[in-house]
């Protein structure tokens, strides 16, 4: 037990209103925790508090009761015995009469009433007593906002938890509630009020109950809130929004059917208001009330509702229909919210009161007027705007009506569909019958777009109705349905009608006709339920029409697109609804025809369009895609074969197979398109769909097989380079999207072919007889080159875990190939190095090697190339090998240089692989590059005695090596799309760019200090690449050190046109620094040099973006401290004034801003010294006047 003195201290500190709120809260918490831990009983507490609870001092009594109430709130989950609860609730019920201490009593009652049954609840009779006391004593509307809220919460709680206990209060309760809620304005309280009324109505469901007498009065209180007009500012009361209130009021409105005589007229009246939100609310409320009030009650108002609803739909719908391919699919819901709500209400009403409502719609004069005037205009675009809107509205109404139920669909078909058919001049005939030729001409003359549009709406409603009904079979078994009979008998005639709309349009009038024609045919073709509704002939005729459009109308963009889209829709419809009957027709007519497009060469359709059609059709379903992929692959193989074999064999081929009438040049072009389509469209689709890996595996294997079989290989023509490129791309993507086991199969296959066609150079030979490398590489045949490149493509794309056989030899092979300048081999080697195991695995053969070993091979070889002192003898040998017959020395040096360039490029890719996985050997490679950069033309050349002119020539060559070494840094750190990225499963260490940046920049900086100006420029180039490709945030953290390098780089790069892109990249980094707050601080010290550099760049002639960005940088600099930049002002302004006359508009615009930025702060400067009133200025100006 707690010390009584301590307890009284707590109580005292809560009751004392002079204490701070935190103290009060703390003491409340202390008391509550005492009670929770059973250190104190409620009885003791009450006894201790006796004085506070009964004192005549209003303030102290109020605080005391509040304390007790708050304590009970804290004890909500603690079990209490019934006697305690009974005596407590009795006390609080009494206290409700004490208006001075009301808050505590309300809090206490609420806490007790809300208790869960597990911890002891208030019994029913006590709850009734609370309600009675509430009704008798509380004048809710005269209380403050918080007390009002509490008392509403109490009432809500009583009604919800003790409905039976309080229901017996009857009239008193309802009257009391009416009184207490009347005139409430606070949004929080209103939410509660609306809910109370909702619960109250649920309490008296019977119309003969007590509520009936009060319904009018209650609704009058509610009705004045509609429509909710919310004037609260945005910042206060964020918890309650207008929509919440509107929803709560809606539930109150629809809570009892007794409100019907008052609610519906009010809602209809507000529906005709001009306020959009009121309209929207009315429609929502009406929908809800319709559902809750029931059919009988609603029947009374149905005519009034229909007329206002019609008005709302007519005025709110858009008058413009969209004729884009996107809107072909699905029921296009109106964008307008009011129209959408109105239509959904219409549907509900029809479902509820089908007979009555249909009579209204059928007999409606506005609708029949539209029908009567349909034949006034033939073309859609002739119809005036207002009429279009009406037509659209009628279309939507009919759509909604027909969709609502079978019965309504019948009725619509009976009354409207047959009328439309009359207008169109279509005659009913047997579904299998073919319309006569003469009749089709007749139709084409009579095609009426308005009528066609309406029939589309009705048909699509009918289709949606069937599709949404539970089983399609159940729908089709009703043979006696009128709609079905009509549909069957008119379907073929309608097809003709839609086709003719199409034909009319093909004479080139309007999009609308095309759209209507296509959409109509599409809807007819996508009726579910096999051929029972739409006969096979009709379905096939539709498909044939579309396919013929694709084949012939390719010059017109819209019809072609629409037809293709429609075909795709039909395909995916068949797939979705498992329409097995229709599938064969689709396969035969559409897929086969479109597939043949990939083969037939002499049709007029442009090849890219054919491929678009092909891949789009493929996306409509899995089975079609399989077929399409098959066809595509066949076409690829056939054309590749053409590419492989030499021209001599071609004649034979033409005789054998009449497809290939075009030369192999042409087939190279075709195969390029095909492969592009394969890698751009098919592979991404396969990646999204599961279970198509096998296809990719087969594709890769087949390509390799074809290689294996083609021994007469002749692909030396230059245009075949393009074919190889796309082939490699397709191969890379195909392999990358396979799993490891599949990749293993492909790798094995390709390795076999590779090893059978290329002899591997031996490692030892590489080192000892290095000079032979160049020779061997020169001798490689073009077939071998293809095999090698494709193998490289495979290696680029594999997973790290995929096993590559005979690694050691392959590394050597790639190494020799890359020395010839084959970039793909270099990339493959980079990928291999990136993915090789660090440690040797169990069960490895001697031909495999670890990363360490591979790196040894690579580095030894490359060191030999660059180590001039040890290799001068070999080098001279090599030169002699190369130049047998040509003794020209400079040529020899030239080939040596190109060898070095290739070696550097290769090393760069290898280095990239290492860098990405974070291997330390990358440092060795970087060192090689750095040595190249600083060697400044000494080695290899200076010891030869040559004339000055020759010397100059060599110096140039040497510069190109250094340039390559500098550009190697771009490869090292830049991102690459072709290899070494996530898609091709590279191992990427986090923050590798950042590490490289911080490792290499200090070295570069110290080198710059040491070197003479000539080779410095290449160092700047190298550092520019590093800076550009490092994330800006890293550069920002090191700005102070970077800025000098960056500026020198900018001025070094601005000398040559070729470097403009690098220059721009570097300038963007500078502008990034200047835009950043920390960066600005860092730049502030060197502002003068930065400004000098930027001023020079504003005159850079070769790239507009550079000038523009330089201008923006100058603007950013004007934000630095004025004392710092004021001296530069004249210089900048002069440059800017020149830039105002820049040939490019964008630069001029920036120049204006820049001039303003720099002149404003200078004016601020002397404005400080001027004290004059505006009055003087006006005087002087008017004197001038």
């Amino acid at each position: 037990m707690a010390e009584p003195s301590q307890l009284s201290q707590y109580i005292e500190s809560f009751v004392d209103s002079s204490r701070s709120p935190t103290q009060q809260a703390a003491s409340l918490e202390a008391i509550a925790s005492l009670l929770k831990n059973n250190q104190l009983t409620i009885e003791t507490l009450v006894r201790e508090m006796e004085g506070y609870l009964t004192t005549v001092d209003n303030i102290i009594r109020a605080r005391g009761i509040l304390l007790l109430g708050e304590v009970l709130v804290c004890l909500a989950s603690k079990p209490l015995d019934d006697a305690t609860i009974h005596s407590l609730i009795g006390f609080f019920t009494d206290r409700l009469a004490d208006w001075r201490a009301l808050r505590g009593a309300l809090v206490g009652c609420l806490a007790l009433m809300r208790r869960k049954s597990s911890g002891g609840m208030v019994c029913g009779s006590d709850a009734k007593a609370v309600a009675e006391s509430y009704l008798q004593n509380l004048q809710v509307q005269s209380l403050g906002q918080y007390e009002r809220k509490l008392s509403f919460e109490l009432m809500e709680c009583v009604l919800e938890r003790y409905p039976n206990a309080v229901a017996s209060l009857g009239d008193t309760l309802i009257y009391g509630i009416c009184e207490s809620v009347d005139g409430e304005k606070d949004p929080h309280c209103l939410m509660l009020t609306f809910h109370i009324i909702e619960v109250l109505s649920r309490l008296f469901p019977d119309p003969s109950d007590a509520l009936a007498g009060f319904a009018h009065e209650l609704f009058e209180i509610l009705g004045c809130y509609f429509p909710i007009h919310f004037t609260h500012q945005k910042d206060e009361d964020m918890t309650i929004k207008r929509d919440d209130l509107a929803r709560a009021l809606m539930l109150a409105f629809s809570s009892t059917p007794l409100f019907e005589p008052y609610a519906i007229p009010l809602l209809l009246e507000k529906l005709s208001s001009s306020l959009p939100s009121a309209k929207l609310d009315s429609l929502r409320y009406l929908t809800d009330c319709t559902m809750k009030y029931g059919a009988d009650r609603m029947a009374k108002h149905i005519e009034a509702i229909w007329s206002s609803l019609k008005e709302a739909i007519f005025t709110s719908l858009d008058s413009v229909l969209l004729f884009t391919p996107e809107s072909l699919e699905g029921p296009d819901l109106p964008k307008n919210e009011i129209a959408a709500e109105a239509l959904s209400l219409l549907e509900k009403l029809i479902v509820q009161n089908t007979k009555l409502f249909l009579d209204l719609i059928v007999g409606d004069e506005d609708i029949s007027m539209i029908f009567n005037t349909l034949s006034d205009y033939k073309n859609y675009h002739e119809i005036p705007l207002e009429r279009k809107q009406r037509l659209n509205a009628v279309g939507r109404i009919l759509f909604t009506t027909a969709k609502a139920s079978q019965v309504s669909c019948n009725r619509v078909f009976e009354c409207f569909f047959s009328r439309l058919m009359d207008i169109l001049g279509l005659s009913a005939r047997n579904s299998s019958g073919q319309p006569f030729f003469e009749e089709s001409i007749l139709i084409s003359k009579r095609c009426n777009h308005g009528a066609l549009y309406l029939s589309i709406e009705i048909l699509s409603a009918c289709r949606d109705m069937i599709a949404s009904s539970e089983t399609i079979l159940a729908a089709t078994s009703h043979t006696e349905e009128t709609w079905k009979y009509l549909l069957q008998s008119f379907s073929s005639a309608l097809t003709m009608g839609f086709c003719s709309a199409f034909i009319c349009s093909s004479e080139g009038t309007h999009d609308a006709a095309t759209y209507i024609g296509v959409k109509g045919l599409l809807i007819l073709a996508t009726f579910p339920g096999g051929y029972s509704l739409i006969s096979k002939t009709v379905f096939e005729k539709i498909l044939v029409t579309f396919v013929s459009i694709i084949n012939e109308e390719y010059s017109k963009r819209l019809p072609w697109k629409l037809a293709l889209k429609a075909l795709v829709e039909i395909g995916s419809f068949i797939e979705r609804y498992h329409e097995s009957e229709k599938e064969p027709s689709y396969m035969d007519i559409v897929v086969e025809k479109i597939l043949s497009l990939a083969f037939v060469g002499d049709f007029g359709i442009p090849f890219p369009l054919r491929l678009e059609a092909l891949s789009d059709i493929g996306t409509s379903g899995r089975s079609y895609m399989l077929k399409v992929v098959q066809g595509l692959e066949e076409a690829i193989y056939a054309n590749l074969y053409e590419v492989y074999v030499c021209m001599a064999n071609k004649l034979l081929l033409i005789l054998k197979d009449n497809y290939h009438v075009h030369g192999s040049t042409n087939s190279a072009e075709i195969v390029t398109h095909l492969l592009k389509c394969y890698s751009d469209k098919v592979i991404p689709w396969i990646r999204c769909e599961k279970g198509f890996e096998e296809v990719l595996l087969q594709f890769a294997i087949n390509i390799w097989n074809q290689f294996e079989n083609s021994t007469h290989f002749n692909a030396s023509q230059t245009n075949k380079k393009g074919v190889l490129d796309v082939m490699m791309k397709a191969m890379r993507l195909a392999v990358a999207n396979c799993s490891e086991e599949k990749q293993n199969i492909i790798v094995q296959k390709s390795y076999n072919i590779l090893s059978s066609s290329i002899s591997f150079p031996l490692e030892e030979m590489l080192l000892q007889e290095g000079f032979q490398i160049a020779q061997e590489v020169d001798n490689i045949s073009s077939r071998d080159e293809w095999v090698l490149s494709l193998f490289a493509a495979v290696t680029i794309a594999v997973h790290p875990q995929t096993h590559i056989p005979n690694t050691r030899s392959i590394v050597s092979l790639f190494m020799t190939t890359l020395l010839k300048g084959n970039v793909v081999a270099a990339q493959a080697l980079g990928s291999m190095v990136n993915k090789l195991d660090l440690k040797s695995m169990r069960g490895q053969t001697s031909s495999d090697c670890t990363l360490e070993e591979a790196m040894d091979i690579i580095l030894n070889l490359s060191l030999w190339i660059f180590d001039k002192n040890s290799s001068s003898s070999i080098q001279s040998k090599m030169i002699s090998v190369h130049d047998t017959g040509l003794n020209d020395l400079s040529n020899g040096v030239g080939s040596c240089t190109s060898l070095q360039i290739h070696a550097i490029l290769g090393l760069a890719w290898i280095g990239k692989g290492l860098l990405m996985r974070g291997h330390e050997k990358v440092n060795d490679i970087t060192m090689i590059f750095l040595r190249c950069l600083q060697s400044s033309g000494r080695a290899g050349i200076s010891h030869q005695e040559t004339s000055i002119s020759e010397n100059n020539y060599k110096l140039d060559l040497h510069n190109s090596v250094m340039k390559t070494a500098a550009d190697a840094f771009q490869i090292l750190i830049g991102d690459c799309e072709q290899c070494l990225n996530r898609e091709f499963h590279a191992i990427i260490r986090p923050l590798y760019k950042q590490r490289f940046f911080s490792a290499v920049m200090p070295v570069l900086q110290s080198l710059v200090m040491k070197l003479e100006p000539l080779s410095r420029s290449f160092l700047f180039r190298a550092s520019a690449h590093v800076i550009i490709d490092t994330p800006l945030i890293v550069v920002l953290s090191d700005t102070k050190k970077i800025i000098p390098m960056l500026l020198d780089g900018l001025s070094a790069l601005s000398n040559d046109v070729v470097d403009k892109d690098v220059l721009y990249g570097l300038l963007l980094v500078l502008s990034g620094i200047l835009m950043d707050k920390n960066g600005q601080e860092a730049v502030s010290d060197s502002a003068h040099t930065v400004v000098n550099c930027l001023v020079d760049l504003t005159r850079y002639p070769h790239m507009m973006l550079v000038r523009e960005t330089a201008m923006q940088c100058l603007i950013a600099i004007s934000g630095l401290s004025h004392a710092r930049i004021y001296p530069m002002r004249t210089q900048v302004l002069q440059a800017v004034i020149k830039a105002l006359d820049d040939p490019k508009r964008a630069v001029r615009r920036e120049a204006v801003r820049c001039r303003q930025a720099w002149s404003v702060f200078s004016e601020c400067w002397h404005q400080l010294h001027q004290e004059a009133s505006i009055s003087n200025s006006f005087h002087s100006f008017s004197q001038v006047q």
């Binding site: 006359d1141 040939p1143 001029r1148 001039r1155 303003q1156 002149s1159 404003v1160 004059a1172």
Partner: protein, 209 residues
């Protein structure tokens, strides 16, 4: 205090479809893009947008709401009769507070300036702007003209000669205004006056954003 609006019911003209510059698909790095009508219009457009916002705010919002404005107005109106200019200026001071760009009338609808009213000849370095004051006795005409002139001076290369005119028949003292606006000496004198320059700068400041 402010008693009424000078032009409470401005004539609103239908907005003309703006000419859109079609950019070349493959931009030519070395092609020259001469200064043309549209560019001048763009230079001035921002300024007019600001002017119009002020004007419209003046027309449609209660001036008396802001205490600082009321204070300034009471000081100035006791001094001068040129109420409108004052309101214009005070609103310009507060222009940054106006956030709502959804304004009933846009600049072009009021036809203060249109694209057709600009003549430009890049070869001969000549530009002429004709503007239309909203009412005949618009006392802002000279201020608008001066602002236009300064804006062009700062935005065009120095080789340009510019000519600012009030549209014929739209202003009561047309000749005087034209003469004043195109007199180099008077403009220079006006701009030498630091306070007048301040005013112009303040008018133009938002247009450089």
């Amino acid at each position: 205090m402010v008693s009424g609006l000078i032009n409470a019911n401005p004539i609103v003209y239908e907005k003309k479809e703006r000419r859109v510059r079609n950019e070349a698909a493959v931009p030519d790095e070395y092609a020259v893009e001469p200064i043309d009508q549209l560019e001048i219009f763009d230079i001035l457009f921002f300024f007019f947008l600001i002017f119009l916002l002020v004007y419209a705010t003046y027309c449609y919002r209660s001036v008396k709401e802001s205490p600082s404005i009321v204070l300034m107005l009471s000081i100035f109106t006791s001094y001068y009769g040129e109420q409108v200019i004052l309101i214009f200026l005070t609103f310009l001071n507060h222009i940054r507070d106006i956030k709502d760009p959804e304004h009933p009338y846009s600049l072009e609808e009021l036809k203060v300036i249109t694209e057709d009213a600009i003549e430009v000849d890049n070869e001969r370095s000549y530009v002429r702007v004709t503007f239309t004051p909203t009412v005949e006795h618009c006392s802002m005409a000279t201020v608008i003209g001066l602002c236009l002139r300064v804006k062009l001076m700062r935005s065009l290369p120095s080789r340009y000669k510019m000519d600012i005119r009030v549209a014929p028949g739209t202003h009561a003292t047309e000749a005087a205004v034209n003469k004043q606006l195109n007199d180099k000496e008077r403009v220079a004198a006006a701009l030498e006056n630091p306070n007048l320059l301040d005013m112009v700068d303040e008018c133009l400041a938002p247009s450089y954003a």
